[in-house]
Subunit: 285 residues, 4 copies
């Protein structure tokens, strides 16, 4: 069984002594470090760190941590967040017509592989309801036309707020989110794109891959930003294909890639393993 932990994520200018300061602080409050990962980016001279502290003996909690930690954080000019492991994140899933990513995420959630709550699924196609129904999760149908787009996004924002959603998974959701919605959930909306980005951004990547005659296909999971398919990449994978594969074969084979790449990205997010800087991710796995 996993231990209850606090996870501290830090980024700051790279100077001497940060690890000693952080580890010393945790030891001072009787914390036991279960994992510590750090990374220095020589290009940007930024320092990144993730520390996982066992809560059992730790003499700080979510109320007292901030004040105690402030002098370390200030000294090193840190951006930081702390996640308390006994808080389960709340994840919403959006989907369109393709069910493979949606079904896969729900299956991983139900079997306990993803430690998360799923207050609802929403989508612009009514037929997805039956995929969701066996999992006992409410499905909200938000059909989108040019005329209704704005109003449906308002409805979606309401749902997200009402259910206190922490992050959103686009499980092959084929609608472009408005800049307002994206701004409301920075680094908290995870998309799966069915190509090895930056190649074949935009619609119908398997068709473009087929036309180009590539010998691999891929899938890419990334945080959503205002620039379509250009957000920070969390996970990517490819598989070989050849001339015998039709577009339909690429689509079928790609489903197996997409499911796994998206699930890995979602797991990293749930486990607080991702730091973003300059449109790139540090993923401490």
């Amino acid at each position: 069984m996993a231990l209850e932990t606090a996870r501290l994520l830090i980024s700051c200018p790279d100077v001497k002594g940060i690890i000693a300061a952080v580890a010393g602080f945790i030891a001072e409050y009787d914390g036991n470090i279960l994992e510590a990962d750090q990374h220095s980016d020589p290009a940007s001279e930024e320092f990144f760190m993730r520390v996982e502290v066992q809560l059992e003996s730790f003499r700080l909690n979510r109320k007292t941590f901030g004040q105690a930690w402030a002098h370390v954080a200030d000294k090193y000019r840190m951006r930081w967040r702390v996640y308390w492991g006994n808080e389960i994140k709340r994840m919403a899933i959006l989907a369109s017509k393709e069910s493979h990513c949606l079904s896969d995420i729900l299956w991983r959630w139900r079997t306990g592989e993803l430690r998360v709550e799923v207050p609802f699924v929403a989508g612009n196609h009514a037929e997805m309801a039956e995929q969701v129904e066996p999992y006992g999760v409410p499905f909200h149908h938000l059909p989108i036309t040019k005329e209704t787009k704005q109003q449906q996004e308002a409805a979606l924002l309401n749902l997200l707020a009402e259910h206190e959603i922490d992050f959103v998974v686009l499980a092959r959701y084929m609608q472009i989110l408005s800049p307002e919605l994206v701004a409301r959930y920075p680094e908290r909306i995870i998309n799966i794109h069915h190509s090895f980005l930056p190649a074949f951004a935009g619609p119908r990547p398997y068709h473009h891959a087929f036309d180009r005659g590539v010998k691999i296909i891929g899938a890419t999971s990334h945080y959503v930003t205002d620039c379509l398919d250009e957000g920070p990449i969390i996970a990517q994978s490819t598989m070989p294909v050849d001339h015998r594969d039709t577009v339909e074969d690429l689509i079928r084979k790609g489903r197996d890639l997409e499911r796994v790449v998206l699930a890995n990205a979602v797991r990293h997010h749930i486990e607080d393993e991702i730091l973003v800087s300059q449109n790139k991710t540090v993923v401490f796995d």
Copy 2:
């Protein structure tokens, strides 16, 4: 030991009875089919075939084959080529400053892995001579400046003609060949590009990959056409990278990909396993 064979490569409109006609023709002349691969492209309605016939009992040879075969080829409107296995292809290698692909190809040639002749290596940097020297292959130094480019290409064309070169391998040769030279060797110049095309075409792909924060790197081998990095792809491969990898790490790791991808493409070419149509390859491996 490999048997002496003839390899027949065919492409034609896809109609009924082609395989029977080809196999029947070969049986008629007492040929033994060692391998037969075919592919029907439903999109273009084109048919592709590769047949490898054991020469031992075959009652046709390079002088008599054409006339006997003509009535089958004409009936099905075939484009076709035949390669007689006892003819060893003549391969020239061009390189610039990076030696990993060059050394690898030479090593595979010397150990007999690539059944080919290497009349010469040429390059625009003199220091490559010492890489080539242990293999006993002549190295021609063709230094290129804006002023000398045209004249050096003429020299290169002379070398290719003089040595009766069948095909050219660009082993990380960083000069763009003129349309004239490319036109002289259609589907006979093989390049290795250090990215998963179509992403990161052009110069410095590892730097661009690093800047974009991708989680994979790749290599692509393709036939050279007039459009830079857009020729028909023969082979591709990728490997995972992460935030810990510097640009230098990408370059180092990528070398292992490039060597293998290029060698596979060269082997397919030597074995007459590649057919090209509409800027895509059929690779019968």
Copy 3:
């Protein structure tokens, strides 16, 4: 949409003229060959062939084929089978406690990815019923103890016979089938083993992999024979792991491998792409 086809699978001693004879026969009856794959094994001097013929114009059907084909089959001493594509195979699935392979196969079936009928699922753990229920497939609970084993296998055999099952998928079914049952379905029972065989055969392969400190894990799908985990291998795959992975991580990561490897093996079987000889498979994909 896929065309209706007949698939002819052949194995025989490797002599001259087989392809011509087969292709000529099909042309004689106005068949159009959509795919033809062949393989000569130089070690055993056996020849293998798979031909897919479009039914539309073919002047033979399941009643008339056998007699017409006999003189070719006899001449070359062929073992052969023909599958008529308008016949959908009937697949039974057996499972124990782990649901990932079962759920995955059912999902692929429901979405039409696997063109097959699923008359029932059976298993030795009652809780699997709720995994199966949403798919509308009957679940038969066959709890197994030392005392009931023989009787439950009789029940299973009855179910298989009654439902006219063509082949059986062991989706992480943790019971060893009796030699009688295996003999009844030769090359028609597909198992998934959670290791890269022949390493870690038998129970608890992830634990053994962890103890050995391997840097990869794997999954293997094979036909079941009387020798545990030693049947002919259909599909295999691996993925990297490292010292950070606990046994639980291996099990979790392995699930993604197992699902895909098993699904690929089942697809090859459904598409009649597998020939078995001397405990090895030829898979024409």
Copy 4:
């Protein structure tokens, strides 16, 4: 350019405060931590750590480090080693008839990819001399028969001692080393085995893989112990194969795997990234 660093490798019982103690010690002596990796093995309750400290400002050196460090090391009952980055390791290579791993390692050394010295290569086949000669490294021919085996190993031990060799690479060296020699270089002899161990240990693994009909081949690099092919695994990789691949194809394809797997293991060793415990490795890459 890489900075001069000290690398500190630690293993000890897993208790609270180790990271703080180590990081605090380094900060106390004005060291800048460039990389810090740690791993807690919950099974053995062991803690592993690797710290890389920039030498520039560090107020300890190889003479003074031990005494200063002793009180930390003693307190936590550490086994530890420290490597000073300005000391280049001395690597001997042994080979037999197959040249691909030998050539590859030498090539990586000459191009600077492996930061190491290579005082000599030795082998039991004279023809390997010409592979080594272009690299300007002495080759010692130690032909081995039943009668000469003991005497040649004595000669080898002399060479290793005389050249102050730090570690030995068996680049497809097909002789079994004596327990005495192995005991002299614990965790300092790196072998490449041409299979995915623990499958196909012992001689002729590609032949056994072919006979078993596996759909993947692999390569494994490990430290040599007294148990043949059972030492702690450093690196492993696999690639797909199919029924078309002859034994010769497996051997050819496998060479590309072996080269890369061995090179990765050697690089990890040179960079002091490997810790061994209970016949398993922790590889901090």
